[in-house]
Amino acid sequence: MAKKEVDDRFKKFGTVSFTAITKTNDFIDYLEKGKVMGTKCKDCGAVYFPPRSDCFKCLDSNMEWFEVSGAGKLLSFSELKYGPVGFENDLPYTIALVDYGDYKVFGRISKDIPYEELKVGMGLKAESNTLPNGQLNYVFTTP
């Protein structure tokens, strides 16, 4: 009997991924195509970021993907001087939360923006990004 293939695409997410198998694995394919995606419940219209495969409002799993596009507003951020194991080579880096109105997105700020230029309330857009170790994530850049 042929070995059952395991869909572990999610192990490509972030500098170190702690999850390999999830029903939201298509998120990785979208990142590869340059898109950052969330999910939306086809039944009640609830919008989810980070994406989820089940809607707790409808107790249903009838979801579709939508693209996180346009600019959001920077709510807060912090530059790390120390990181967990596996993130040493990325230091220093800045994590941030960006508000898109219907949903918020947590991620990293692009190294292209100097830390001194960051300001709560500024506009930022999410962009897919390939890390030096070949892994994928997304970063916030100037729109």
Binding site: S78, L80, G83, P84, V85, G86, I95, L97, V105
Partner: protein, 388 residues
């Protein structure tokens, strides 16, 4: 309605690198609580053991610790909600007693953070958030609280100096608390002195001085129904109100970035149940894992209006002599934060205060005290109101 009372409290010294195993550490807090309650192990109907399991090598520590403390064959339950594990344990014990299932329950919180190596600890710290969607970005506890600090600063004009004042207060009392891990003074100047470790950035804008001290430690709270509490104890401290709440793990799910919603929600529940308002609180213990966390707790619990926490600390009203003394045992910042033991230690402090047994740290004649204990980055929150 029958009351539920605390008849014994204890804690170990909070230390770096405890020279013993987790069961021996748990024994220290338990022994002090049993000697305080002056009861026998046969008087205890059940035990609740609380810790954050990622620091334990022992799988399911409850059985091992219950055995070591002689609490066999009574039932033992393992409870965890990270940094608020032992106050969650107290809530569960309260519920079991109220339900009439048990009469006397011991809640034992412990954490031997040095059980694992520092590299193992660093690895676990990377998994302290939503491991699917946030940890892959390289998140750390201080960075999350730093985001709250940044948002508080942007909204209310709070400054690094305001935050440093909270640490200076904590150190004032850490020096006189013989159980504290950090016994030294901290001055405002240290935060601007590049030679001082306190001024070193951990996650902008937070500095070493803004972060609590990791420690090994244990705590124990013995809780009884009204009848047993009155029969066993001369001075039981009653649980007047007990609230608990949860929030999204993911920062993307949070609506409030200038406070912790779990503190607000659990506080509302506890105040309503106790039938008191923030003005009635004579002494409080709040979860100051970072200076910003204490600042937010002032505002979330109604000791100050949103944005006015900085005025409360500037006026020294949260010092021992002020109108609302907070963390006059050194808090997590100086007393130390052995995760699973912390909530129990906070409750012990308030019980000693209400009994008038807090020694040099004693606040003048308090009648009602409050304990605010948070798990994770505002993921879980418990607020407990105690009275004589």
């Amino acid at each position: 309605m029958a009351k539920v009372g605390i008849i014994g409290v204890g804690q170990s010294s909070f230390v770096r690198g405890y020279p013993g195993s987790i069961r021996e550490l748990a024994f220290e807090g338990f022994k002090e609580a049993m000697e305080d309650a002056k009861i026998h192990i046969k008087d205890i109907d059940a035990s609740i053991i609380a810790s954050a399991p990622e620091y334990d090598k022992q799988r399911s520590p409850a059985g091992v610790i219950a055995e070591y403390l002689g609490l066999i064959p009574q039932p033992t339950f393992y409870i965890e909600s990270i940094c608020s594990s032992s106050s969650t344990g107290v809530k569960v014990a309260y519920s079991m007693i109220k339900a009439g299932i048990h009469d006397v329950v011991a809640v034992i919180g412990f954490q031997k953070m040095s059980e694992i190596s520092s590299s193992e600890s660093q690895e676990r710290m990377g998994r302290g958030a939503d491991i699917q969607w946030e940890s892959p970005f390289g998140t750390m506890m201080p960075a999350y609280y730093a985001m709250y600090a940044r948002a508080h600063m942007a909204t209310y004009g709070t400054t690094l100096e305001d935050l440093a004042k909270i640490r200076v207060k904590a150190a004032t009392y850490g020096q006189i608390n013989e159980k504290a891990v950090y016994r030294k003074a901290v001055t405002m100047e240290m935060f601007t002195d590049p030679e001082s470790n306190m001024s070193a950035t951990v996650a902008k804008p937070l500095r070493v001085g803004d972060c609590c001290a990791n420690a090994d430690g244990s705590s124990c709270i013995i809780i009884a129904n009204e009848e047993k509490a009155k029969a066993m104890s001369k001075n039981p401290i009653w649980i007047l109100g007990i609230g608990a709440a949860s929030e999204t793990v993911n920062m993307a799910g949070r609506d409030l970035l200038t406070g912790l919603s779990v503190g607000i929600e659990a506080g509302k529940q506890a105040y309503a149940m106790a039938g008191v308002t923030p003005k009635d609180i004579d002494v409080a213990e709040v979860h100051d894992c970072f200076t910003i966390a204490e600042m937010m707790a002032y505002e979330n619990l109604g000791f100050a209006k949103p944005g006015e926490g900085k005025d409360l600390i500037a006026s020294k009203e949260t010092y021992k002599e002020g109108h609302i003394p907070v963390n006059v045992d050194g808090g997590l910042l100086s007393k130390g934060h052995p995760i699973g033991a912390t909530g129990g230690s906070q409750i012990r402090t308030i019980v000693l205060q209400l009994r008038g047994e807090a020694g040099e740290m004693q606040v003048k004649n308090p009648e009602i005290g409050l304990v605010h204990n948070i798990g994770g980055v505002g993921l879980y929150g418990n607020v407990t109101i105690l009275g004589r």
